[in-house]
Subunit: 333 residues, 2 copies
């Protein structure tokens, strides 16, 4: 596996230096400890939103810092939770007096370290609430997780809670939007190949030239089963049906469908998957209201994709359509 | 090489069906012959912009159809020029009475087929002008090209000419903006791996586990040389210096830097490349005014990237900042 890097131990720091140079008006990158905040942080009177986690999933989370989404993102080493220190610093940096919401993917290290940082922040009289994203229906417990893993549904939590904070909701209100998204979002993924962590230098797992892993995690954690590769429509059905049956999503529901590339899958293939998923929704009488297709929660250069389905209501649609200005998600009215 | 597809011959048609389902308010997909137009086409009184080329480079061009950019995109089969028929149909579909500009990447098939379509359109009394994008400094002639190839600089031509058309410039004015961008934009790329065309089933070229191809084309055409892989900073210098020396870009110039992923390169690596390129610009006294980092002109799942540098002036900056609403590039004021 060839990589476009210098020193494997400097990957995250050098990438953060690039982020700082590429987006100077939008965000500020702090070093020692490392975290990214929106350039105008703290925003007085607004609830601050902080997320973070291991690097290697870009644009999650740093690509979602900006107006209408996150106030700060805290990157750990590749596939490694950030420590409490930068989480605490980021929390203080974005506190505009209205409290701070931590959006945490459900991995044991992330949960513990965000919890410690929240305790330390509260000891300094900051008001902090936390939500845990656990949208992956593939497996109950996993390599780094008790309960379900948090995956690409996190992007939707960040967008919708971010829009709620931007319109002026208080901390309870923003947390309640985040909880409502978490309650209504489900995801599952597939891998065709394995990612290679730079300092490891070897693929995270072995997979045969004719096999795919159904229910893969975003750190290469095992899924439900390994099966021979088959046409795309069958692969989509294998992960969409468990998502639909889980909530469950029913006829008449309005949904947002995210087809998320894991890093190495061409866009043309993601649209082929989108086509099949939309057909299945149509057959079940589920109304496709909003769509997102692209690389939003990746696993380095892994070939594969995930589907995320969110049940919408009028308010969530309004929050989705609200303006957002980040490196990876941008739109105006 | 595993692919998320059904029938290799149906890849483009099925992906287009997905595009239609994902972006219904934004664009309309025509079949037999296949082309994509913005949903509100033709826009009365506005110059229409049409581009196109082989598929496999997504989001180029279909991802750039919408307000402030292209009016239509014409996709050929993977790595294959579209025929004159869909180009003619797309041209007629976007003619709002102010004429149509064809933006053509410099590949022999594209140039010939757009030329034929333009002749046929003019025979039906449409006013058509064409510009040829040839930003790749790597090689003079190539596998499918006389002269220099057109690569990721095309995205910038489409954005800036699209903004000029949107503000009401006439056909000569829009063509003149496009020509000014072409005169001031230069690119070069590197491959770490080869792409695999779905119906071929084998990588487009062989490359060793420790080699990279400097000056790669977006269809896997040979570049300048093959060298052993080295740290990212050295690779960036190998393609940035020829770009800088070609125009040349000089101290005091203001520029837009696009670090373009070829498909399979993680975003974290693109930002490492961005960091080095920005350092070199700084050393040379060149002012980085605007940035774009991500997968914009790809070669299926190929690992690699290209750098594109555009010399800016006040008007080009204003056109860059103008609102755009497409599937792959979106921002408001």
């Amino acid at each position: 596996m060839k990589k476009l890097i210098n020193d494997p131990r400097a990957v995250v720091d050098e990438a953060l230096a690039g982020v700082a140079l590429a987006h100077p008006g939008l965000l500020t990158v702090h070093t020692d400890p490392a975290y990214i905040v929106r350039a105008d942080a703290p925003v007085r009177g607004k609830v601050g939103l902080v997320s973070g986690g291991g690097s290697g999933h870009e644009p999650l989370h740093g690509g979602f810092v900006g107006h209408g989404m996150l106030d700060a993102a805290v990157p750990g080493a590749v596939f490694t939770s950030p420590t409490p220190d930068p989480i605490l610093d980021a929390t203080k940096a974005v506190d505009g007096g209205a409290g701070v919401l931590h959006i945490v993917k459900n991995y044991t290290g992330d949960v513990l370290n965000f919890e410690t940082a929240a305790d330390l922040a509260e000891a300094e009289d900051l008001q902090v609430r936390s939500v845990i994203v656990n949208d992956d229906v593939a497996v109950k417990d996993s390599l780094y997780t008790a309960g379900r893993r948090g995956v690409a549904g996190t992007v939707l939590v960040e967008k919708l809670a971010g829009a709620a904070a931007e319109r002026g909701d208080d901390l309870d209100g923003v947390a309640s939007v985040a909880e409502r998204v978490i309650a209504n979002v489900r995801s599952m993924g597939v891998a065709l190949t394995a990612p290679t962590v730079p300092h490891a230098g070897e693929p995270s797992f072995d997979i045969g030239e004719d096999e795919i892993e159904i229910g893969i995690g975003i750190h290469g954690e095992p899924g439900r089963e390994r099966v021979p590769i088959e046409p795309a429509d069958g692969i989509v059905d294998r992960i969409l049906v468990p998502i639909l049956d889980d909530l469950p999503f029913s006829s008449g529901d309005r949904v947002l469908l995210l087809v998320n590339g894991m890093g190495g899958t061409p866009l043309v293939e993601l649209y082929i998957a989108f086509r099949r998923a939309a057909q299945v929704l149509e057959e079940r009488g589920i109304r496709l209201e909003r769509s997102l297709v692209g690389n939003y929660t990746t696993s380095l250069e892994m070939q594969g994709f995930s589907l995320t389905l969110l049940r919408l209501d009028d308010e969530l649609i309004e929050l989705w359509d609200a303006p957002v200005q980040t490196a990876a998600l941008r739109w105006g009215r």
